[in-house]
Amino acid sequence: MSPHAWLLLGLYLAILLLLVKPFGSYIADVMEGRSVATRLGGGVEALIYRLCGIKREVEMAWLTYAFAILLFNVLGALAVYALQRLQFWLPGNPAAMLNVSPDSSFNTAISFSTNTNWQGYSGESTLSYLTQMLGLAVQNFFSAATGIVVVIALIRGFARHTAKTIGNAWVDLTRLTLYVLLPLSFVFAIFLVSQGAIQNFDGYQDVTTLENVRQTLPMGPVASQEAIKMLGTNGGGFFNANSAHPFENPTPLSNFVQMLAIFLIPGALCLSFGRMVGDTRQGWAVLAAMTLMFVVMALLAMHYEAQGNPLLGQLGVDMNAGNMEGKEMRFGVSDSGLFATITTLASCGAVNAMHDSFMPMGGFVPLANMMLGEVVFGGVGSGLYGMLVFAVMAVFIAGLMIGRTPEYLGKKIEAFEMKMVSIAILVTPILALAGTAVAVTAADGIAGVANPGAHGFSEILYAFTSAANNNGSAFAGLSANTPFYNVMTAIAMWFGRFGVIVPVLALAGALAAKKRIAVTAGTMPTHGPLFVTLLIGTVLLVGALNYVPALALGPVIEHLTLFAR
């Protein structure tokens, strides 16, 4: 690793850790309705609730809360589907894009309403501006808000006792969108334009190049969509090349800030959690576990990408720059390796380099990151609720070892809670591995593979791991815009999202109803290094037990093949 890579990682960590505390406090205050913003926006908020027939004082039990969230997201999927199927006849379509096919529209609708943002289509040659902004960008906001309100509900489950309700879903969604996501996106979008990201409603521009060839430059409202794409850990690009496209991510600085934007809210929410349960050390402990795993993964990715491909070295190419296939010159291997780690640990899935062309162990990192269950920072909200589920699992394992009833944050963990935790943890590996198994045995599945050998298997494994964990990045050589993959990945995305959200909300409801038990000498502290180690151990153990055989068949074999020569 170069000194530049070390400096980059150090700087990234320093700035991120400076930002999470203030943003975490802000989000907690907004959600509890005692921030300056909620006071200033109170009038607008009240108007919205009156127009929508929402009674803000009436809180919901977990089942109602879950129904509200599901309903809101089903509406989102329907809207995205309808916009794609009708875009040719709607305004905001200067490039005259045709209506999208039913299976592709279905896949994209599910993809964006589940915060996955898997892209089966190619943005600049498929979607109208209206579909992008009113379909996809809106879902970028709503799916992000969904993830965050679910974790807020879970936190309330811990913070409250003997309570029947966990909050009002409409109020939570509205506050998050208005006071957190919109203002952050607005500022970020303006910054992106200052670096060269485009933001206009012009038609595609034809230019004649210096060698007298016609080049068609795509246009569109890119920066506004790009901002929420990163902040909401959505990751669905305006263009096919995503954050590798110079109009989405024009400079190394825009790249650095995009990386910060991905981890900002997932990191900040740890501190919101600490604040809302009345013990900030609890938040820092969870954040510490996440940060330690992140650093190891980032070092691995940057190291292997800097190595370069020995097969190309044999052709007399100077490999000093590292593995540059599928990378942009302005980013190079370090800024690309770090981005790949961040975007796959968080369930963002934006890419600034083509993961399919990473070195075998460089590509192992994004794949393994997703397999950890998107809980190391993870998606906005979904990362923290996933990690808290693992925390409950960790205290349960610790409780078994010392023979005491497990408890976390003053709540006794009993049979119902453990059932919900088990479902939440097992749903995504089952979807990912079963999906992969079906695809590698089906002719339609194998037909999509682009690279021969073990790498072809990795492409399929990556696709289903990404879909089930709602990441959305890809080993993009796989031809996934086929009815087979559109339907299969849509199933994985939908159940990978709501198959976790529903048990998490049930867990929230069950916890809220419990009495709080007092801290005694026998209580295991959940804020020290011991707990951090236990939490990391649980996450790694579950991930490893589920996925090691599959990883061995993919990137590990590939690595051994390459370096055994």
Binding site: L8, L134, F142, L182, M324, A450
Partner: protein, 190 residues
């Protein structure tokens, strides 16, 4: 649960208008006067007509121009309407074959070149539209361009140095040369 339908639908519509219409329009209106060129795509105009964008690479094949990164876009390289990379895996024989063909092409174009070929000059970029090459990749081509233009090689190396951007703020990304801007400056030299 029926009482959830009205709030769901009306909140969905209302917030869609705010985030899907008001927000992008407001952003566009605000940046238009401040960052006019950037928002419009950083277009480069020569003799009154646009010849490209300084952020989007172009295909250069003539010996008298510096060449950019290989581009994997279809059907032709540097197709800005269909961005994307090759997605070739590191062990795929097609990758080694493509790189070998590019190495051979560079050697044919400039047989006597003693410099090592930098990796970025023979590997496809992620977007297929990479506007930059490494300074080493530019210097590698200086002799060929000098011969084609009947210019001293030193002049070209000086021009490359003048167009080399360092890491942004000295911290981010990699040193690089914008190929379109370099070639435009080259045409100015005559």
């Amino acid at each position: 649960m029926k009482e959830l339908i009205r709030p769901a639908v009306s909140l969905f519509v209302l917030l869609s208008v705010v985030t899907g219409i008001a927000y992008p329009l407001l952003t566009t209106a605000l940046v238009a006067p401040i960052f006019r060129d950037e928002a419009a795509g950083s277009l480069v105009v020569r003799d009154g007509r646009p010849v490209g964008s300084s952020l989007i690479g172009q295909n250069f094949a003539a010996p008298k121009y510096f060449w950019g990164r290989p581009s994997a876009t279809a059907p032709q390289p540097y197709n800005a309407a269909a961005s994307g990379g090759s997605n070739l895996g590191p062990l795929n024989p097609a990758l080694a074959a493509a790189v070998k063909a590019r190495v051979d092409a560079l050697k044919t174009a400039d047989p006597g070149n003693p410099l090592a070929i930098p990796a970025d000059l023979v590997t496809a970029s992620a977007s297929g539209l990479d506007p930059h090459i490494s300074p080493a990749a530019a210097h590698y081509q200086a002799a060929r361009v000098a011969a084609a233009r009947h210019l001293p090689e030193q002049t070209l190396n000086a021009l490359i140095d003048a167009h080399t951007q360092d890491r942004q703020w000295g911290l981010f990304g990699e040193p690089r040369v914008n190929v379109l801007e370099l070639n435009l400056a080259l045409d100015e030299l005559r």
